[in-house]
Symmetry: C2
Subunit: 509 residues, 2 copies
Amino acid sequence: MIDNTINDTSRIKDARYLSKVIKADEAAALIPHKSQIGFSGFVGAGSPLYVPIAIANRAQKLHAAGNEYKISIYSGASTDVDLDGILAKANCVEFRTPFNTDPSMRGRINSGETRYLDVHLSSLAWQVECGYFGDMDFAVIEISGITEDGKLIPTTSVGNNQAWLNAAKKVILELNINQPKELEGFHDIYVQAKPPFREPIPLKTARDRIGTPYMSVDFDKVVAVVLSSTDDRLNSFTPLDEVSIAIGDNVAKFFAAEEAAGRLPKGKLLPLQSGIGNVANAVLAALSKAGYKGLECYSEVIQDGMLDLVKDGTVDLASASALSLSPTAVEEFRKNVDFYKEHIILRPQEISNSPELVRRLGVVAMNGMLEADIYGNINSTNVMGTQMMNGIGGSGDFARNGYLSLFLTPSVAKGGAISAIVPFVSHIDHTEHDTMVVVTEYGYADLRGCSPRQRAQKMIAIAHPDYRDMLQDYFDRACAQPKPGHTPHILSEALSWHDRFNKTGSMKK
Amino acid sequence: MIDNTINDTSRIKDARYLSKVIKADEAAALIPHKSQIGFSGFVGAGSPLYVPIAIANRAQKLHAAGNEYKISIYSGASTDVDLDGILAKANCVEFRTPFNTDPSMRGRINSGETRYLDVHLSSLAWQVECGYFGDMDFAVIEISGITEDGKLIPTTSVGNNQAWLNAAKKVILELNINQPKELEGFHDIYVQAKPPFREPIPLKTARDRIGTPYMSVDFDKVVAVVLSSTDDRLNSFTPLDEVSIAIGDNVAKFFAAEEAAGRLPKGKLLPLQSGIGNVANAVLAALSKAGYKGLECYSEVIQDGMLDLVKDGTVDLASASALSLSPTAVEEFRKNVDFYKEHIILRPQEISNSPELVRRLGVVAMNGMLEADIYGNINSTNVMGTQMMNGIGGSGDFARNGYLSLFLTPSVAKGGAISAIVPFVSHIDHTEHDTMVVVTEYGYADLRGCSPRQRAQKMIAIAHPDYRDMLQDYFDRACAQPKPGHTPHILSEALSWHDRFNKTGSMKK
């Protein structure tokens, strides 16, 4: 996968960096056992690829020779398969944070071979900078060019790149000559100080630019510039299925009701955050179908669905930390890059996910989940309470601070064997205090102002019909306990649905 | 309890208000069945008392005559017993939010007679203002005076007072002539706009004043001024017990280690938030003992412990939303009110608990809890998963956004029958993503950077010795499951400790 013949240094405008150009395997050789590394990469976009592959190769050789070799990986969010996947397969990852979607890495995490830390995406950078995890030894950051005055041009994601450049003792730059030159100018890099020196973040609308288009680095820390030519991990775009379309339509219905009640600006909404994947794309499609124009998004990731909406005018401004597109969308993006530059801003995840800004802007947060319980607690991460899926990502940053927080899910999974609404969630990532609205293909449960008993009835009403009687039966019997309390439960049964699934393959009795 | 002979109007400097002066029962008669009422009051401080008593009297008469009469109560936080207690006893509360410590009201909540909504203290005001709970019919606010230009002087708490004055259709002011006149000038009232018009909150240090010392009200909305003379609910100060002292010492040890590691400014720490009660007082005492001087607090409540530290110079500046003192401390406060005015600022809870400000200032958050599980999830509210204690209060505002988030608890309750460290918490208010450090009298568990398996070992080490083997046994068997996963659990046993307590009166086998 590494092409060692690449020697185009034309994007290095600061000649000092020419002397730092080396091959990927030479760069990897600089990284000792037990190194803590901050990689670029956010939802598959903007990951370095040559250096991680070279690290994996090195690890395998060292392991074969009987030597230990493990690293710790800090990223923006999920990376390309050639980063997480290949390093997990080489079994050289001691520690991983904050988010992963790669199946091989997931396997290492769930077996306990790789220690994984699941942390809010807005928090990791400052926690690293404040020294909570020890020293960061290396930053390995993909860039698309170096300016005459030594500034770095980011690629398709910003993530924690500037934070890693600041925190790391040594820096390896992977200059990807395949990333469009036109990416220059999309980014808005803003850096916060550490307490007690933090200032208000001077952003008042989703479209404000408050920083510079470039990343900066201390030249003396740069130990390597590796030339590469790679594509981002390309997401395939799945056509919307009926269930996703119904969920999207229910979200649009909810927004219409909020507008009618005077709780959302008519036809404008408030800045939208939407998660990733099919359901998120369906929501955006539903908003386009409903005739919205000129919306703003203040989100983490721009995927195909949002690019379509920018193109057709539904969305006028999309702010995010990454551009994660399918091959078709990449082609469209490259063709009309000047148009998109007017409508897209890429920011550090400390800013895209900032609690301060999410609350100030009044972001409407929409996130997927694994399961919810009848009282509105949400499990976003651990399947059956134990098996890590991807991590909490930015869902907590947005759900806690959003003007509205919606959680969206198909009512069942695994062909109906798993209900997304259960008596008691097997893991909690978002508490009842942060869940305002839950949406399935059967409708929306508006939990605002509801006591737990009221919430239960609304949640049961949007569960899959196959599970409604079971849920109602549990709730009724919980309420009939001698001391039912504020949050009625039968503790000996609360997790029995998950236990049954583990034992029989279905939550159904 | 109501003294109808009070007729001292000397604190009403704006003569227009004189015509609004009526008796408490006349004011209560203005409040129809099903009214939604925003009361002042925060941790027992600054509650109106005459009007609530009159409402309770009215409700009882109406009920006796066979009429329905229920109201909904919105407050700052917990109120005086003569507000929550007396209204709960009169069984006239349909809905209560956001926080309660009164046993009678707790009983109504747990029986389901009163619907209760448990929401972050920083969030309630804007959610009311944005119309999430329908119209607010009345604000009933304690004041200590009215200025010549019709501004209102707050008393011992700010809470949501200004928000209720803004949101309510009608306003009843309870002018308490027993509150010290010298309270004028302690407060800093700052109001945020609703999205999309919110601005950065211009506060950069705990000591900044960004608003005005007075509350404002639309004169035409004021339907009554009720003269009263009452004391705040007076907290008795309990001498520190050995367990609390040990917890306080462990917190001081942790801070010393953080200073040594360069993660906290030496001798200065960062602005402290501490919860209420005995453990919080013990922590403050431990900091004084450790020789700290000139500390800043950015917290919710100033209790006796903090007042002592202001007096002895350990704390130079205490910012909070309420002054909740014992009778002895009230005396001391009144005697040296000019001194304290230099060192104390009272703010709206949207500001004292603001996620934006808590993160900006780098607040060190210290909160009590009911129980934690071996992976660091925290239950702050529901005893045995079902019985509401007080509510989440501001713990989520601080724990989520703090520079450090500590949770403090004695290792056992009910004479050892309940372990504060359990396999799986029976309710989750703070997730593993927000818990950094858990402290008991046996030490502190620093969970930062730890995977769940590592966290479990640290949590077991600070559990009560009587429960350590049981916890270790659970954890070991969970790890030995066929697919233990990232967060090992035995689902059929996870809540068995609570179930056993319910059935046998002890978590012990």
